[in-house]
């Protein structure tokens, strides 16, 4: 990197030289979240050139796992292993310990370090989360989280990042998750730890990216429903927040339930739907009777219906005559 040094950024952090061509900054890329928070999907920064030929460390973290409202965002950050100290010097820390303003500031620092630090994000919209968890073949939040993380690591590999070590903040039991990732990426050194965002700077960086992205997505959320002037005074979005609960109660439509912004699969949402919504039955729930259970003894003594059964043509097509309209 024989590039002449450039003026250090305003915050005065210790930094390496900037390459002459700066890749698009995260802030610019996050503008995408402001345009279409729900459809953002997976996207990332340009890969900093050093990351293409130096072994890299990669951190994975998520934001918005618990709330009943809004998307869940997965983030990865990566940088060459020998630059980890520089990253630490930026003062990245567990995003949960930081105020929103402080997170934005640290994010600015990460943004400015784009010559060594790359990132990628995956935004999982709330309706996608609801659909995954409530579809016929249940797909729980842990599996969804694991698969999203795997997808992002693969995304980095496919983009040409020389990933050598992976650090992950755990979801569920760390050992199982670690074994799963090791099996999926046999060439990589995988470390899964609870609270990894406080232990490894590269995970802290990922955590800040994810959290900032989640905040932007929520702030700029566009409701697909035709709801005039929906109020956004929903508090933290966590199920135990009384403000959030009150907002959910106010925005419950008896037939349709909630706007897509709400994760229907959350217990809080389901409980409200059950109490206040129109009862809805699906083919795959609440079977009236276990079909494999032996028939009641009484059924053998019931008078057999004198009528012949309908011809299979009608039976197979679920067609029946009507007695009245």
């Amino acid at each position: 990197m024989g590039v002449p040094p450039v003026t250090p950024i305003s915050q005065g952090a210790v930094r390496g030289p900037l390459p002459s061509q700066t890749p698009p900054s995260p802030a610019m890329a996050l503008a995408r979240l402001e345009r279409d928070p729900a459809g953002a999907g997976r996207f990332g920064s340009a890969v900093p050139p050093p990351c293409r030929h130096r072994p890299c460390a990669l951190g994975v973290d998520e934001a918005g796992r618990g709330p009943v409202l809004g998307p869940m965002v997965y983030g990865i950050c990566y940088c060459p292993v020998e630059k980890l100290e520089e990253l630490e010097a930026l003062g990245v820390a567990d995003s949960k310990t930081l105020s929103e303003g402080e997170r934005e500031r640290r994010f600015g620092l990460l943004e400015a370090a784009s010559d060594i630090l790359g990132w990628a994000l995956h935004v999982l919209p709330p309706d996608h989360i609801s659909a995954c968890m409530q579809q016929r073949a249940k797909y729980n939040l842990n599996e969804l989280s694991h698969d999203t993380a795997v997808g992002l690591i693969q995304f980095a590999l496919d983009s040409g990042v020389q990933v050598a070590e992976v650090f992950v903040d755990t979801v569920g039991p760390a050992e199982k998750y670690e074994a799963k990732l090791r099996q999926r990426f046999p060439g990589l050194e995988v470390t899964v730890r609870p609270k990894a965002d406080g232990l490894f700077p590269v995970v802290s960086a990922a955590s800040i990216c994810a959290k900032v992205a989640r905040d932007r997505a929520v702030k700029h959320w566009k409701f697909v429903e035709d709801l005039e002037d929906i109020d956004r005074d929903y508090g933290s979005g966590y199920p135990n927040d009384p403000k959030t609960k009150e907002w959910l109660r106010r925005h419950l439509e008896p037939v349709f339930g909630f706007p897509q912004f709400v994760r229907f699969s959350w217990g809080t949402a389901q409980e409200l739907l059950q109490r206040r919504g129109v009862p809805i039955k699906w083919a795959d729930e609440d079977p009236k009777q276990d079909p494999t259970a032996p028939p009641s003894v009484l059924s053998y003594f019931a008078r057999t219906p004198a009528r012949r059964p309908p011809h299979r043509f009608f039976h197979e097509r679920s067609l029946r005559p009507l007695a009245e309209l």
């Binding site: 037939v255 129109v278 028939p295 059924s299 011809h311 039976h315 097509r317 009507l322 007695a323 009245e324």
Partner: protein, 307 residues
Amino acid sequence: MHGAKQHPADGHPGQWVLIAPESATDPPKTPDSEPLFTKLRNPSTGEATLYLFNSGAQQLFEVKAFHEEYRSWFIGQTVQQDGRLLFVTPMDPLFLILYYLIKANKEQQGKFQPLDQVVLDSEYPSCPLLLKCADVKQYIHHVAEEKEIGSQKFHKYSQEKTLKWLKKKVNQTVKALKSNNISVGERVHAATYISGKQITDTKEDYVRYAHGLISEYIPEDLSKELLKYLGLPELRSPAPEPPLKKRKLSDVPVEAEEDYTKFNSSNLKTKKANSKMSAAQKALAKVDKSGMKSISTFFSSKPKASK
């Protein structure tokens, strides 16, 4: 099209969705000849069933509902809990008239009668409308003998003519089944299963299926007569199933095509005895059993006083 009817309180559907041919919904030619949904006696079951006469009762239609659990409609800006789809399809009124001809024939011991005295039913006041349908007068001779005295016509049920007519219906149905590619055999086709036998539905499969379909429109006794007339052996009906079990109905009992019993020959036993023992069994066999009692001795009826 969908019609609207208000039954707010009693849980009846407020709206229904139906598919009907245009001729069923033609606007009335005179103010008092509107299309009419009405209950008539189902010729097969004898139960009240819904039918539709179009404007001026020129044509009869049967009403069938596609009805499965867990279905609802979104209609415009409303939700309809009842997810049925009604089909209004043309029907030959002779089937319904036939029911009364047979009944009158039994009651009047084969007297010739004017049709309007036959097709009468105190429970179903719109029943005489059947005779107003176009072509009924022209085609009644397919199922009844006719006598003309003066200007008045008298009719009497003829089983012979009816069976001949029904056979034609069966043949027409077979044609329709073939052109609509309807699987009539007892086998269920699975795309992934390759059978050693070529699966082709035989002519008998088609005729039997068509007979079953036609039987949905005629009394049970006549259905049996028709089966004989078509030269099909009657099948023993399977034992009545407890009503809780759902099961695909078939006209034909399913029989095993291959005989597996030949593999159960006696030499299977000897083979098994010769077969190799597992490591554990071998180890067990090597154990010194001297001084050990057979387990059966512990269960013998008279306990031996051993000294």
